[in-house]
Structures are given as structure tokens and as C-alpha cells.
Amino acid sequence: MTSIGARLPRKEDPRILAGKGRYVDDLTVPHMVHASFVRSPFAHADITSVDLAGARETPGVVASYSGSESAAGMPLIPTAAADWAPPRTPLTGDRVLYVGEPVAMVLASDPRTAVNGAERVDVDYEPLPHVLDPWEALSPGAPLVHPDRGTNKIGEIHKVIGDPDDAFARAHHVVSRRLTVQRISASPMEPRAILAVPEPSTGHLTVWLSCQGPHTLRTWLAHIFELDESKLRIVAPDVGGGFGSKLNLYSDELAVIWAALELGVPVKWVETRTENFTAGVHARDQIHDAELALDSRGKILALRSHFVGDLGAYFHFFTPVVPDLTIDTLTGNYDIPSVDIKLEKVFTNKMSIEALRGSGRAEATFVQERLIEEAARELGIDPVEMRLRNLVAPDQLPYRTPFGLTYTGGDYPALLERAAELVGYQAVRTRQAEARKVGRHIGVGFATYNLLCGFSPSGHDWNPMKFFPGHESTLIRVDPQGKAVVYSGLCPQGQGSDTVVAQIVADQLQIPFDHITVTHGDTETIPFGGGTHGSRGAVVGGHAALVAAERVVEKARQVAAAMLEAAAQDIAYEDGVFTVVGSPETAVSWHEVAEEAHFLKRCGPMFEPGLEATAFYDPPDVNFAFGANAAVVEVDTETGKVKILDFVSVDDYGVGINPGIVDGQIHGGIAQGIGQALYEQVSHDESGQVPSASFSAYLLPSAMEVPRLTLDNMVSPSDTPLGVRGVGESGTLASPPAIANAVADALAPFGVRIDRTPLRPDVVWELMHPE
């Protein structure tokens, strides 16, 4: 019986499909009050007064708080990623630093009354000069986001490896571009939501939170409010998507918890979509001045990128380290001996940057793949051939990158060649030539990716975060009937890891998939957990489940040995039956063993009763998944509209545990990549307002914009027991540059430069009409 690799149905589907999902907004508890926030309309301003009288007079309003009144009682919020963070409190007292920053909170008996009350709060502001552009923020005399620092520059990392200066000096050709990866939003379909339920008589607090990992947040919550962690319970029920945006405890969420503790009543808050766009974290937002040094055959001698990361006004959980990930992943799958990479991180008057599916690595992939494409064009080399000349070849593996990462396994050139074959590369070129004759513009673009994932071994460079575990835990408890409940430290938001974990456990315990229940997301029942992010579900959480299951089987073997009056090492376990090696007729079933483990009726106290085991799995290293994408687009040069005609993704994620789930992860990642390439941008106007703060202005791709995707995969098992690599973020990396490259290819006759995304119709049209 093998479950791994089978397209088994997802555990949670029947419940959700019946409309019985349980998201935070679906929960009600007695005496619950609802919160609504008053937020800054200014990018930078002093708060001169806050008048709560209007709110307090609104019938149904229970309480209201302003940052200026309550700031003294409110804790400072640290970051996980650095020792220092700009001071931030749940409600801001004296000065706002971005549009959407919470300054007051109104609590009422129902959500609409809370909103009405919040609308009646009067806040006076004294606007201050603000800075939105990262280059301007770095220039002398710019308004300072945090004046006591004396600069908007947060820090700089400069890595020079090999001899890039020499490479550029002797290069046959240098290609240089300023490439921008715009600010985008995770936009999970479920906005943030929280229900904080205090129990004043005992000092306990339960927080129902739409999040990606409750244990880490419990530790943070205890730390921030100086609470006893043993009295805190955080539960993530069904979570409607996260993509990195729900790894945080946000200011407003902390204000809700603060109010629940102050008032001693349950407080609920559900974010509106508009709030999600302004007060929910943003992502990406990097500008690269990047160049490649090339020899005459198109071999890359060196990569240089000096880039700026616009981090916004404050640090959320990972903010200061998100762009760091870009540095070490900038060479991707390519064999580039010398690098010169400099990152400057900058404060601006915007919401913070945070992790978002593919964070850091998606920016790197865009830069490297856009540059290589341009290099191919300038040198007159076919773009596939150009890549083949530079990809790390299978015989170079294990390959150590200039940054010291070690790639093992896989065949990068074969992945690209397969993508070219599936997209019908030569036929597309013919079609392109035909179309051009009649004034139609078709283009084909390629990109490869290498996804650093499986975050992260404890003590590893990629795990610098305080209170952020790189390991994962699983507890497996078998009942007397032989059925198992698995308590997984993962915290899925749609990734389907309950099913994946059950498949892994089913194979080890050799019991039916349907006899396994998986539970997650509750600090009360789960031993501990790092949660779900960074493509770690299968490769870290999966292995925790594997090791726990192995331990359960070991225990069962001892019980069977006692029952069969043999030594444990002489007991074989196959097809759900324990036998004494050499005498297969001496057998007990899994069910009999499970029963005996609990009741000890047959052999008495010969072993410790019970049949359960816990495992904490700390991965020995990070992992890598890789692949290649190909896109065919048609650009309407009249309107600037880009239509994707065909999209191919060939991926190597190692062993796939459930093909339905894996394909879904890749589809979803590519759809987000299509959004990044063609539609999505968090925009700020000159005053720092966010005109894109709705789904009518921030366009997520619909079923009309995402074409049918062609997937294929190759399997090079990783050096882990399960052979898995990671897949959650795969689709987000190569899809934006593949599409941008296809647009550049389509518009090549016009000499148009594609240096930024999104390639919305208005943007493309302007590129075509530069005056």
C-alpha cells in the first residue's frame, strides 16, 4: 500500500464544500464586541488631537481608544528579524508614518455600529513632508521617516565575490538595465481576522487568528504583552489564504488583543478589503541597476546589481531581511563566477514590505532572467541557446554558488529544453513571422528558476529570526482501534498539508488513509510549530510526520514483540501485520497491537502503555526546487493589451506526494506571477494615498486572464528521506520574467525596453508611444 504519489482527495474538502468551513469571521462567542479602526489619511503627519466624544455618544459603542490617550499603556512591537525596530505601538500616539496606520479604535455591539462610531472620531493632523521614492529617500535633505536616526537608510549589504571588476573590464559585451519589481499585495481572499477571548477569572486568553503559524505568534504575544505563555492559546481555524501576509501580529491585531485584555470581553475584528490594501503588508518593491559581463560567445563572466529595497515605514515580522534573500539567489541556475551585489534598504512613508510567496527570490529571478534575455538579444544569440550556454550543467553538480549555496540533483538544461519542446518553440517562431506580416505581434519568452526553500535549519544563515523555529513537530497518537490522529505543527492556508501529512503517515503505519485524521493550528493541542511558509510544508513538516510515524511503528513493534514472545528486532511489519521473522504464521495485526498497547490484557506490563510518538525535525539544510517556464503572448499594439496564448511550466520539485495538490500549488503560483507580470501594483499617489486599495483598482487575474496552463515535471529526489524538495512558491518565480520576456520578444521590432512590471495596457501603450 503506498499513499505517497497518489492523487488522494483532500481531507478538508467535504467540510468546506458543504459550507461548513470555519473561518474566524464565522465564529461568535457570547458578549463579543466588534472593533473598527480610525486610520491615518496622511503619509506623514503629527497627530495634534484625537476627539473620541462623537464615538462615545454613538448608541451601541462600548469603548473607544486613541493611541494618544492609551500609548503609555501600550507595548512596543519588535521585529523578529533584527535587534532594533522603529518604535511602533498598536495604536499610534503622536505621529503617523503611512496612510492606513491605526490611530484610534472603536468597539461596539455590532460591526456596523463600530464603523459608524469610528467615523465620528475627530482627529486633527499637522501634515509633514513625506517621502515615497526610495532614491529620493536616500538623497540629502529628504524628509526623514525616523528623524532620530538621521537618515532613511536602514543598512547596506555589499557582497563582492570572485573578480567582478576584472570581468567587466575584459568583457566582450556588457548589458545594463535598471529593472524594477513593483510593490504588490498578497491579497488572500480572506482578509485578516481576529477574535480575542479573555478569561479574566483565570488570566487565560484565547486568540482565534487568521494566521500562518500560531506558536511563533504565541511566543511573540507573550513577549510583547509580558504575559505567561502557558495561559495563551492561539488557534488558526480555517485560513482563507495567507501567502506570507499572515505571518505577522499586526498593530491593529495587537490593539484588538490589548482591548480584550483591558475590557475583559471578547473582541472581534475583521479587516475590510480596503484596509487590507493599506494596513496589510506589501511586498517586493526593489529597483536594480544590474549588468552582466559577457564573453563573445555569450558566457556570463560576472553579474553586478546595486539595488535598493523600499521597506516602508516600520518593520513587521521579516521586513528587514526580505530583500536579503534576493542577494544570494541572484545567480539562480546560472554558472556565474563573479558577482558584485549591493543592497541598500530604505525607509519611506509607506506600509511595510513583508514576505510574499516567492519573496526575495522572485525579484532575483526577474532581474537575472530579464538581463539574460536582453543579453541574448544584444549578442544575437537565441534566448534558449543563451541560457543553455550558462546554466549549471548536470556534471557540475553538486555545484557551489558564489554565495556558498550548494545545489544537488536536477538537470536544469533538460528542464528548459522540455519547456521549449512543449511550447513548440520552432513552430511559435514560424507563427510569429507569419503574424508579423499581417501586423500582429506574437512573442515567446523563457525563464528558469531555482527556489531556495524549506526554511530553515536552526542556526543556518537563512534563519536569523528570533523566536522563529526552523524545525517542525508532529505528534501521532494511535487509538485502541488502530486509527491515528496526527497533530502537525504546520498551519496550512489552503496548501492541503493535512492530506500530504496523512499520506506520509499512512505509508509508515500501513493503515488506510481514511483511518488518519490530521489536526493543526492550535497551540493547545499541537506540540509546537513553525507553521506554513517558505515552501516548507512537505520538506520540513512532512519529515516531522515521517519521523514521528517511524517512532510509532517502533513502539508498535515492541508491543508486537511482547505479544508474540519474540525480540523486537525479530519482528517484521508488512501490510499491517507484525510477524516473527522466519515464522510468518506467528502474527498479530496492527489493530490487535493498538488495542494491546492500551489495555495490556494479553501480556501484562511488559512495555510502557500507549501508542504515540512526537518528533521534532530540524532539516539538515535548506532545499532547492527548480524548473523552467515558457510563455507565448500576443500584444495588441493598438491598445497595449497583452494576451497570454500559451504557458508551459516544467518543474522539478523532487518527489511529489499528491499530484493534485502539487499541480494546484504550481497553478496558483503562476496565476500570482501573471498578476505580477501584467496587472498588479500597489500604487501611491503624490500624497501617499493608495488609489489601488480595492479589487476594482488592484486587478487580480480572473479565470479570463489565466490561460490553461501546461505542466510537466521531472523528478530528481532531494537528499532527504522523502525525496521532496518544495513547491509552494515555485510558480511565482519564473512566470513574471517569462511573460515580460515574451512581451519584449513580441515588441522587439519596435525597440521597446521592458524594464518593469506590471505590463498593463496603459503601460505598454506608453512604451509604444514614448512622446
Partner: protein, 155 residues
């Protein structure tokens, strides 16, 4: 004001404020929380229900406008609380991940399939254009709807 509605075949009379939206009536008064709210600009379709046979975004309808009318929500899709054929097709095709958008897609697709039992892929995509999903990339949803779940395409 008093609003009387038939929801999934059962009649209800609800006392609510004139500004109450249908989605809030369903979620808060009738505890039918399978219908979700994903935006505040009528853009996401998470709140889609069937009102007198047509798929509508229940955040764009006042409770009062539903007075005397018949509403179907995800909770009424399957017979006796079991899953109906389209719901089963969603599971078979991995058409949901986080599931937050799912009830909206189920209702929009149900309305489509009643009107057009054998839609083409482009007809399915067009009919689902008003529903956003951030997780699936739509392909598995489209496949589920195209899988002829009700068997009406059988000869």
C-alpha cells in the same frame, strides 16, 4: 423592517435594519456562514448566492430587496446535507485550496450549468469571471465545472 425569505427551501421571517445586506442577513441572522465576504467593492464574488434562479453577489443586494424571494446558498446545494455532484466534482478535481472563494464559485457554476448544461471552456471561464480565487489559478475549478458533474451531457 420584516423580511421574509425562503432560503434553501425553508421560510424565514427576519427583523432587520433597512440597511442590512443580504449577505449579512444570511451570515448573521440565519448563521449560514458558508457564504463569505471578501471585499467591499462588489468585486470578488465570494458572496455569490442564487436569487430566484440567478447568481448574484449577495453583498450588492439589500435584505429588503430579497423580501418574498427564494435564495439558494452553498448549504443547500447537496441533498440532505450530503455533497451534490458539483461539490463532489470540486473535490475530485482539487478545485479548492483555502476554500474561501469556493462557495461563490459553486453557486456561480450551479447557475451556469442549469442554464447551459454543456458549456465550453470559454463559456465556463466567462461565467466565472466575476469570482476571484487567489489560490488555484482557476484551472482545477474550470476542470470541475467542465467534468459534466450532473451527467446531463450523457447520451
Amino acid at each position: 423592517m420584516k423580511v421574509s425569505v425562503v432560503v434553501n427551501g425553508a421560510g424565514h421571517v427576519v427583523d432587520c435594519h433597512p440597511s442590512t445586506l443580504l449577505v449579512h442577513l444570511l451570515r448573521e441572522e440565519l448563521q449560514l456562514t458558508g457564504t463569505h465576504v471578501g471585499c467591499d467593492t462588489s468585486s470578488c464574488g465570494a458572496c455569490t448566492v442564487i436569487l430566484d434562479g440567478a447568481a448574484v453577489k449577495s453583498c450588492t443586494v439589500l435584505a429588503g430587496q430579497a423580501d418574498g424571494r427564494e435564495i439558494e446558498t452553498v448549504e443547500g446545494l447537496g441533498p440532505d446535507g450530503r455533497l451534490g455532484p458539483l461539490q463532489r466534482a470540486f473535490a475530485e478535481h482539487f478545485a479548492l485550496q483555502c476554500g474561501f472563494c469556493t462557495s461563490g464559485f459553486l453557486m456561480a457554476a450551479t447557475a451556469l450549468l442549469r442554464e447551459n448544461p454543456e458549456p465550453s471552456e470559454s463559456e465556463v471561464r466567462k461565467a466565472l469571471e466575476g469570482n476571484l480565487c487567489r489560490c488555484t489559478g482557476y484551472q482545477h475549478i474550470v476542470d470541475a465545472v467542465l467534468s459534466d458533474p450532473t451527467g446531463s451531457g450523457q447520451p
